[in-house]
């Protein structure tokens, strides 16, 4: 691949370019760099970066390169969905760059070619810790957002299943428990992401929350969500209602203007079937079925809708999920590692002089085993 050769040829140039910024030792080196900086200025962008900002057009040729997430999209689509270390990175580098990698490209190609009239397909991104599952998921979600789909994104299902401060008995069903804080937070985020759909969609049945409050049939979805945000007590039930509405309406309205595609993404989907760390009042452990949020989310996972597509993520597959399409995520290969290394050099992140030499690079490869998250943590203090 020509790109690979370009990388290895430009790597010494890239390091020389940065030595130029520090104080030079010999005059000869200065001249050589002065000539190369002029030609290298145009090139380094093409080696590890791509100017293609729309994930629709990402292809195999872009694999291993970084594309910039537009800041407006980050605010709208990912107020909460990105991993915390990546959010720190965005803040430090003043830009959000994501690497285009084969698992994400595979997922996007499945989404492009899938047949929407059949029952929905489920995809599971699986792999070792720190290999980039959440980032691939976010890449695919960015594609969906730019295509105009409606997005249901649960950033971390584990947050709903442990460390819950308030657990109220459910208002609608006696054997269930509600989590008002998590539910209302999720509704707020849902509102930010999917604002344009809220006025278009209407409810299909009447929902009664308390003796005095109810939402009539035919009300816009935005009102339902506001109801959930304002009244914390019934927010979990509102979440259930919203999910039910979306399931019913997602494919059916081909005749009206309400046709839309729905993407459901759950990060950490094995939390829905594992044990919770929450306790009921009599100190016995809570089962996941007894939590309203989890129960409603599990219903979404079944494929008895019409015309929908969903994507999931988890470390181990589960029998409830079958059948699904597995997508494997692994550590960086050499080209991706080169690209990552050059990106950190470009952003002035690798500061230790030894890390910029060939031996330092070999040490980094050895210490991190090309695992993306370990490499990121290593380069953080070097």
């Amino acid at each position: 691949m020509n790109l690979h050769k370009l990388t290895s040829r430009l790597c010494p140039k890239a390091t020389q370019k940065f030595r130029h910024l520090h104080i030079q030792s010999s005059g000869q080196q200065l001249e050589a760099v002065a000539v190369e900086t002029a030609s290298a200025e145009a090139n380094p962008l093409s080696v590890f970066r791509t100017s293609e900002r729309d994930p629709t057009y990402h292809s195999e040729g872009h694999s291993g390169q970084y594309y910039t997430l537009p800041p407006t999209h980050i605010q709208k689509l990912f107020p909460y969905g990105l991993p915390p270390r990546f959010q720190l990175q965005i803040k430090t580098f003043n830009e959000g760059c994501v690497m285009v990698r084969p698992p994400a490209l595979e997922l996007i190609s499945y989404l492009k070619r899938a047949d929407y009239s059949k029952p929905p397909l489920r995809y599971v991104l699986y792999g070792d810790i720190g290999t980039g599952k959440t980032m691939s998921l976010c890449h695919a979600l960015h594609y969906c957002y730019s295509q105009g789909w409606l997005i249901v994104h649960v950033p971390d299902a584990h947050l709903w299943v442990k460390n819950c401060k308030e657990l109220l008995p459910s208002s609608s069903r006696p054997s269930r428990f509600d989590q008002p804080i998590q539910a209302s937070q999720w509704l707020k985020n849902f509102k930010i992401t999917n604002e344009r759909f809220l006025s278009k969609l209407k409810t299909t049945q009447r929902y009664v929350w308390t003796k005095r409050e109810s939402t009539e049939k035919g009300q816009p979805l935005g009102e339902l969500i506001d109801q959930g945000v304002n009244r914390m007590k019934s927010s979990s039930d509102v979440v259930g209602a919203v999910l039910r509405e979306l399931r019913l309406q997602a494919g059916g309205a081909t005749e009206g203007e309400g046709a839309f595609k729905l993407a459901v993404a759950v990060d950490g989907v094995n939390a829905l079937w594992g044990k919770t760390s929450l306790k009921k009042e009599d100190r016995t452990m809570c089962e996941p079925e007894e939590l309203t949020l989890i129960h409603n989310l599990r219903k979404m996972m079944k494929n008895n809708w019409v015309k929908n597509k969903k994507k999931l993520e988890g470390i181990e597959g589960f029998d409830n999920m079958e059948p699904f399409v597995p997508v494997s995520v692994s550590n960086y290969n050499e080209k991706e590692f080169e690209s990552c290394y050059l990106y950190y050099l470009d952003r002035n992140w690798l500061q230790h002089p030894h890390s910029r030499s060939e031996e330092g690079k070999k040490e980094l490869i050895f210490l991190s085993n090309k695992n993306p998250s370990i490499l990121e943590r290593l380069c953080a203090f070097l």
Binding site: T92, N348, W349, H354, S355, E359, G360, L382
Partner: protein, 228 residues
């Protein structure tokens, strides 16, 4: 000749039991783990050649498990980690140090990316140079020792050895961060703030160094009480 060498290599036990000092025979040399230690023979002066030969013959102490042969190993940072360590929890101390370096780098790189191109050259992003420079700025040049004369004890200005200066700088940094900061902030956050302030010659530790210098200047008259 062989007999005298064998006599030296006998385990040497002092007549007094000195518990604090290491039990190694003083004949043993310190290990040098860096890869660049071996310099080709032509560049050495005759004394250094002798030293090299001595190294090949004499025994060497065992290396510490915290020393690595990689160039990322920094003796000053290791010393600071040892000083921060409590109850032998080296993992925690090292974690705090790496988080401190990361925080310093993040703050500086953020500033770097947000500033215009003209000011970028002045911002120092390397956390190691920031740490070294901050420590230099905190080291006192002259210290005070308590000398008793005629029943009264006086604070006498006294020169300090390099080790003592380095120790005082590190000790002041750590105690400042442990005692005088807000309770709920993390140690790495407090340390990074203090180090960045010391790098710019501001902050409480540099102030304490200046106070020490002023006291030494004020007690100049007693300098003659020093006999060493």
């Amino acid at each position: 000749m062989a007999a005298s060498v064998r006599h030296l290599l006998k385990p040497w036990t002092p007549s007094l039991c000195l518990v604090r000092w290491s039990r190694y025979n003083p004949y043993y040399l310190d290990p040098d783990p860096s890869k660049d230690a071996r310099v080709p023979e032509s560049e050495l002066s005759p004394e250094e050649k002798e030293l090299q030969e001595l190294k090949t013959v004499s025994p060497i102490k065992a290396a510490l498990s915290s020393d690595t042969s990689s160039a990322f190993n920094d003796p000053l940072i290791s010393k600071f980690i040892n000083m921060m360590m409590q109850d032998g929890n080296k993992i925690l101390a090292r974690g705090i140090m790496t988080q401190t370096l990361e925080t310093i780098k993040r703050k500086q790189v953020e500033k770097y990316h947000k500033s215009p191109a003209a000011k970028r050259e002045e911002i120092e992003c390397n956390p190691y140079t920031v740490f070294h420079q901050a420590l230099e700025n905190c080291k006192p040049i002259i210290g005070l020792a308590s000398v008793q004369k005629g029943g009264k004890s006086y604070q006498v200005p006294v020169p300090l050895t390099d080790n003592r200066r380095r120790f005082l700088a590190m000790k002041w940094l750590i105690t400042e961060c442990r005692d005088n900061k807000h309770r709920r902030t993390h140690m790495y956050e407090k340390l990074s703030q203090e180090l960045l302030a010391a790098f710019a010659n501001e902050g409480n530790v540099v102030k304490r160094k200046h106070d020490l210098h002023k006291m030494a200047e004020a007690n100049r008259a007693y300098a003659h009480y020093r006999w060493w």
